[in-house]
């Protein structure tokens, strides 16, 4: 792959804080226009990596480019060419929608000629054309989130980093937000996003899973479900889900609750299926159904983390 087609290309990227290795020699290649999902447990090194790629934190070692610019030497240039939105993205609560946009336009150095056009674009994108004078504090969370995204990309950066952009946002707003991400990607913007919602991870073109500072799995959502899952996932439907989980876990069959169903990750399907019915039957729990399913990304995530 020629560097010209890559928005991010880094090798051996590391960050040490004292004797603590937050990020441990990771390699990343992200294609232009791609939606790249960066997953991992809390404290795995996700935010530290993002800060290094944004030019906010100097790596301890490693090399590479972001938008073709050297991460070790051109961090100031990188900052101008990216958008960054964090979960704690601070819009000014006591400013109006429009004042927030004007403020960020100034910060990002949007030219006078473009300013009005970009403002209308951001208002339209956030669905706030008729609420431009509203004080930001009074906006529902989903609108705030979209306004924050709009503000982060006023300067039309080719690459945008979204750090848990949908944390604590309701399902309808989350879907709307992902429609926006998809449109940005279609228009050629590269999107680097972190999330703890595993259904959202499925909307990414490619994923990397980071744990204790290292990338432990990488690929398309399908790659992760097929290549990295050597065991089988069984879906179990019963009349009492919590009791069923506890009963099975006591018998050494590890299960987890998915909504009102249980998922069990097993190595030997032929043995496990009748055994599950037997264990539940002995406990007086009715089994409606046990069947093999394609693992969800949550199954993959949990199984990879627990094996690591």
């Amino acid at each position: 792959m020629s560097p010209g087609t890559l928005a991010v290309k880094v090798r051996g990227l590391s960050k040490l804080f004292g004797d603590f290795t937050a990020v441990d020699a990771i390699d990343l290649s992200i294609k232009k226009g791609e939606i790249f999902g960066f997953l991992g447990p809390n404290g795995a090194g996700k935010s530290t990596t993002i800060k290094m790629l944004c030019g906010l934190l100097l790596p301890t070692s490693g090399n590479g480019t972001v938008n073709g610019l050297d991460i070790m030497k051109e961090s100031e240039e990188i900052k101008k060419k990216i958008g960054y939105m964090s979960q704690k993205f601070s819009l000014y609560d006591d400013l109006s929608v429009e004042q927030n946009i004007d403020f960020f336009s100034g910060i990002y150095g949007v030219s006078q000629t473009k300013k009005i056009e970009r403002k209308e674009w951001a208002l339209d994108m956030a669905g706030l054309l008729d609420r431009r004078k509203t004080v930001t504090r009074d906006l529902p969370g989903g609108f705030k989130q979209r306004l924050a995204l709009g503000c982060a990309i006023l300067h039309a950066p080719p690459l945008v980093f979204l750090d848990e952009p949908t944390s604590g946002v309701d399902p309808i707003s989350r879907r709307n937000f992902w429609n926006l991400i998809n449109e940005m990607s279609k228009a050629g913007t590269t999107v680097f996003v972190t999330t703890h919602y595993m259904d959202e991870a499925d909307y990414c073109n490619r994923l990397a899973l980071i744990y204790r500072g290292r990338v432990i799995a990488e690929g398309t959502p399908n790659d992760l479900k097929q290549k990295y899952m050597t065991s089988y996932v069984l879906e179990i439907e019963t009349d009492r889900v919590v009791e069923a989980m506890e009963t099975l876990n006591r018998s050494g069959i590890e299960t987890a609750i998915f909504g009102s169903l249980l998922h069990a990750t097993v190595d030997n399907m032929e043995k496990a299926m009748p055994r599950i019915r037997e264990v539940l039957g002995e406990a007086g729990i009715r089994t409606e159904r046990v069947e093999r399913i394609v693992p969800s990304l949550e199954d993959v995530f949990v199984s990879l983390i627990e094996a690591a």
Partner: protein, 313 residues
């Protein structure tokens, strides 16, 4: 004395026309609820539905504008201090002292709640044990991961053995592995007889509650057990999976007789007027060159019901 004590059956939580207004905005609009002891009550709703305001009034942190509420048999208005002693409340940003260690944080809350000195060692040992924080008791709270901070917040909330536990979106920003651990702790508490009232934006979590209440614009849209809520859609629902799920959703929405099509990762949940429609849908997708890897009829998820009810409003 509240009138519910004389009733002999004291609900863990009871509200009557509970209302809160901020200026012209009605945040919570005449809430009527009765929650039994030992229930795991899940409150869901879009941002700005009034969930946090409701929890704050029930925790006797915020005065209602109108109406009344009783928690553990005590009025949140006239017996607010008693209510506070009987409950645990964990807000979205629980106040942990980042420069204190895990154990120091717990001790701080033990002081705050006047937990008798001789009860402390056993209580703390048990809280550390079930939150899996025993190996980390001397670590600074500021150096814990997000999931561990949540567990420590919960341990602090439970130091005085509350009867009712209020959790306001406790798992926001918490990874899937830690979310599972957190819910296991809640099940243990439930077995001890604690009543749990939790709001969440993860609707798979709502499915695990004994009762789910869907709130929108300050009012209750639905309040029932998860199974009854799922049956309320009244339409057959199918799960389909495709590598081009997003494109497929757009096409399916244009087929006549399709009630809704929502994306769940690479899966779609499609509600249809009749089961026969599935053939039409698959043919229509085929015309656009989209292959379906499989489909099956399912019970709607709580998230399906949520979307359908909130969008209808």
């Amino acid at each position: 004395m509240s009138r519910y004590i004389s009733n002999n059956i004291i609900p863990a939580i009871k509200t009557s026309g509970l209302t809160k207004t901020f200026g012209d905005t009605i945040a919570v609009d005449g809430l009527n609820l009765e929650i039994r002891k030992g229930e795991l009550f899940g409150l869901v709703g879009p941002d700005g539905a009034g969930k946090t305001t409701a929890i704050r009034m029930l925790s006797a942190i915020m005065e209602p504008t109108k109406g009344e509420a009783w928690v553990a048999g005590h009025s949140v208005i006239s017996e607010g201090e008693t209510v506070k002693e009987k409950i645990g409340y964990m807000s979205q940003r629980f106040g942990l002292y980042e420069d204190l260690t895990v154990i120091e944080n717990i001790l701080f809350y033990a002081d705050l709640y006047d937990v008798p000195k001789k009860e402390r060692p056993l209580r703390i040992e048990s809280l550390l044990g079930f939150s899996n924080l025993t190996p980390f008791q001397d670590r600074l709270a500021g150096r814990l991961s997000g999931g561990m901070k949540q567990k420590l917040g919960l341990a602090c909330t439970l130091i005085h053995t509350p009867e009712v536990l209020f959790l306001d979106e406790p798992t926001n920003g918490v990874d899937p592995v830690s979310r599972r651990d957190f819910w296991k702790i809640l099940y243990d508490l439930l077995k001890e007889g604690v009543t749990i009232f939790a709001s969440t934006s993860y609707l798979d979590e709502a499915e695990r509650c004994t009762r789910v209440c869907l709130m929108n614009k300050g009012s209750i849209l639905m309040d029932d057990n998860p199974a009854a809520i799922k049956r309320s859609l009244g339409l057959p629902m199918f799960e389909m999976w495709s590598d081009e799920a997003r494109k497929a959703a757009e096409i399916i929405k244009t087929v006549k007789g399709v009630h809704s099509a929502s994306l769940y990762g690479n899966k779609l949940h499609v509600a249809v007027n009749s089961r026969e429609l599935m053939d039409d849908i698959i043919i229509e997708l085929g015309r656009s060159g989209i292959t379906i890897r499989g489909h099956r009829e399912i019970l709607p998820s709580i998230e399906d019901i949520f979307i359908s009810r909130v969008e209808r409003q």
